[in-house]
Symmetry: C2
Subunit: 467 residues, 2 copies
């Protein structure tokens, strides 16, 4: 059985370990975290990698308002504001956001939040709620889902059966809610019922909250709440994802074995892990539990089928990931140039000046040392003046010299060439005319000042990425 | 005649002066500059304003690579890199970028650059060129245009008839290129010819460069280059826009009267002004020249028709501008609350802490004083601890107190309420339960920490925006 289909994993980085884990376990769900989004070159390289590996559900936590992780989408005033205006605005916001997500390579989003706002609740819900009125929240939730779906993005309503009453934050501890099923039915549960009855391709995220009057187990692990109520009484046949299992509400109270066993037996379909490094342990535990007949195989097979159905309907494009191929294919190397990343390096980069009003690359130079530091221990960063070139005194360690327009300035060219030949690797990142002056040296031509091109050049030189 | 149709104006801000100029002169073309994009709340409010005023061509300078102004689009390695790989990558990049532009409310882009790369040229072209080979540049130019058009964005090829040979930057001085028309025809002009023959809905931007072997006047003002060569010999019937007339190459060598007269008589259709503040002078000069019969009216009428044809085909949605309406409609005020922005203010904002891992609003608090400073002279910014509230000693000047979750912390609530009632205006920006505690005071409820909501609240209170 394809156990990878049963996992949704969070990624805050892209490196050799990620490649290994994805190749070995093939998790069907990929959650892109801010740590990856903040290094766009890695985000794009990751998308490109994924696009060669198959088809995935690719999601983010971008809700709009209190929780926004995609700088590519204009900031929303948030659900609490949207809840005060006509729900057509909510639909439009989710449709337009969904379009951008879709262009970027996402086909799922962990939104909308359908939790009700309650006085005195934990600030974890707050602005993320459309309001206190179950009907109003349902109405906005419906429109949000139809907006996302129209743009090719699966919505994931959360946190079933409702997080609003919780006075604690499940990131830190397991909250308890003292309401009965009857009370929840027309309040917290109402938006979930309405949305899941109408929106067939929605997905659901469960809450790590205990409702002792309904079940002893938290919703995420509760057969009563998932199988009996969500599946049977509400009639939802689609995908049920857990909230991240590493959150203290779950991980501090249950073993991996208990989590895996209880979640699937309760009727859940995909375990969300916020840290991909935890996938091997969960995966192997699941496999062992099946072997030991502690989980019925056909329960898992039903889940795999549900996941496959969403994968079949999903658009998965890889977004702008192809730019990482462009950067790589555009590189020119001297054939025998390679570097060992065991050495410390001195990085020479131009100072952050734009060379024309139609040039905004000055800021790119600030990024170069950060990219280098993913591969090398950076001993020193020296900024040089483009018209003068680097000063001569650089003499220790491996030198990575990022050359900009040296051929336009005799003095600068001379200074670049005076660096010790055996220790220096030249990166021609701008003017193609610079190239010929370095052709007897160790050189790489990127003809791009962008982090993605620098990253691709270094990765090629070093042969791997040791982040 | 609708003279406004003949102007494309750059906007780096949105304020009362902008409103006045657009209402009075209705320029058909709107170029959004980084100064506006960096204040997203103004960008969105501007789009919303435009969407009520009619239909516009909305463009940006986002070329990808060396010149990128939209943070909403992943960074491209640039044209010089794209020129080294298959042109299908260029098409894909422009199509995806165009989709995002379109969702954001843009229907035009001042790209692709079709200038050839020449050794020793000014760094103004550099990485913006696809390469040195006219056929290769033409091929990528064609694909770029078809990508943009497929996404509902008019491309604007530039800088006709080719900026590549210029050794100077036209932002600073008027470059001269010593080539004959015969030399240019198969080189610099080749990509323009190929693209404009095939792509009917493209537009063209002219170069501020003099080609003394072709005409004494710079291309932007040259009847030989625009009317005889571009219109008649190449056969281009579409929209011709100037580069920004404030660039020294033009503005230091010609009067406004000469610029206006020569440009339209040469066959140009829209004058680009990088600064909207210059529109009144240009507009009135044009009007006077028509009245004095120094420009033939039917020359202008033909231009207006061309512009109208593009406007007719353009999709103009206002993008995410509607969020500014959401923020405004969601506000709750005490009826009689208003503020005079002649007074200095003390701004109280929480320190930048997120209240939960599912809360990224902490950084919003840093933005609040910047938004306030568009309306008031900010005397002091005091950051307070959410659980403790502001310290009592604030006693001078008008106080704007941005309240977060006061009702959750008794000590904080007490501290907020101890501020002098007659001087303090409370902004309830998060927990709706806070509201009732301030209902006897001057208050505004935004229930959003976002700059757009704060801006809308202040604009409402002050009655205008004095940026």
């Amino acid at each position: 059985m394809d156990y990878g289909k049963l996992f949704f994993c969070g990624f805050d980085d892209f490196n050799d370990e990620v490649v290994e884990i994805i190749e070995k376990y093939s998790p069907a769900g990929i959650l892109i975290y801010p740590g990856l989004l903040s290094k766009e070159y890695l985000f794009l390289d990751f998308l490109n990698f994924l696009s060669k590996k198959g088809k995935f559900l690719v999601s983010s936590d971008h809700e709009g308002g209190q929780l926004e992780v995609l700088k590519y989408i204009p900031s929303s005033p948030g659900n609490l504001s949207l809840g005060r205006v006509d729900s057509s605005y909510t639909e439009k916001y989710c449709e337009l956001s969904g379009k951008i997500m879709n262009v970027l390579g996402f086909n799922m989003v962990f939104a909308p939040v359908l939790d009700l706002f309650f006085k005195g609740s934990a600030p974890v819900v707050d602005l993320r709620s459309f309001g206190s009125d179950p009907k109003l929240v349902a109405q906005h939730g419906l429109k949000a889902c139809s907006g996302y779906l129209r743009s090719g993005v699966f919505p994931c309503v959360k946190h079933y059966p409702g997080h609003g009453r919780a006075k604690k934050d499940s990131h830190y501890e397991l909250p308890e809610v003292d309401a009965t099923l009857e009370e929840l039915w027309e309040t917290d549960l109402y938006p979930f019922r309405r949305v899941l009855e109408e929106v067939k391709d929605a997905t659901v995220m469960t809450a790590h909250i205990r409702y002792p009057k309904i079940d002893d187990l938290p919703a995420t692990l509760s057969k009563v709440l998932i199988k009996d109520i969500l599946r049977e009484r509400i009639g939802f046949k689609g995908l049920v994802v857990s909230d991240a299992m590493e959150m203290k509400a779950i991980s501090a109270n249950f073993s991996v074995e208990e989590i895996v066993k209880l979640f699937f037996q309760a009727g859940g379909n995909m375990i969300l892990l916020s840290d991909y490094r935890n996938l091997p342990v969960y995966y192997e535990t699941l496999k062992r539990l099946v072997k030991d007949e502690e989980i019925e195989k056909d329960v898992l097979e039903r889940s795999v089928k549900i996941v496959e159905e969403y994968l079949r309907k999903a658009k998965f494009s890889g977004g702008f990931g192809f730019l990482s191929e462009v950067s790589e294919k555009a590189l020119l190397f001297k054939e025998d140039v390679s570097l060992s990343n065991e050495e410390e390096v001195v990085v020479l980069v131009p100072s952050s000046e734009n060379l024309s009003p139609a040039d905004l690359t000055g800021l790119d130079y600030d990024e170069i040392p950060k990219v280098v530091s993913r591969f090398f221990k950076v001993k020193e960063v020296i900024r040089y003046n483009v018209t003068k070139g680097p000063e001569k005194k650089v003499e220790n360690g491996l030198i990575l010299d990022f050359v900009v327009n040296a051929s336009m300035n005799e003095e600068a060219l001379k200074a670049h060439l005076e660096l010790p030949a055996e220790k220096t690797t030249y990166f021609v990142i701008r003017n193609p005319s610079d190239w010929k002056h370095f052709k007897d040296r160790r050189f790489v031509v990127t003809l791009s000042t962008k982090p993605l091109s620098i990253y691709k050049a270094l990765r090629h030189l070093v042969g791997r990425c040791d982040a």
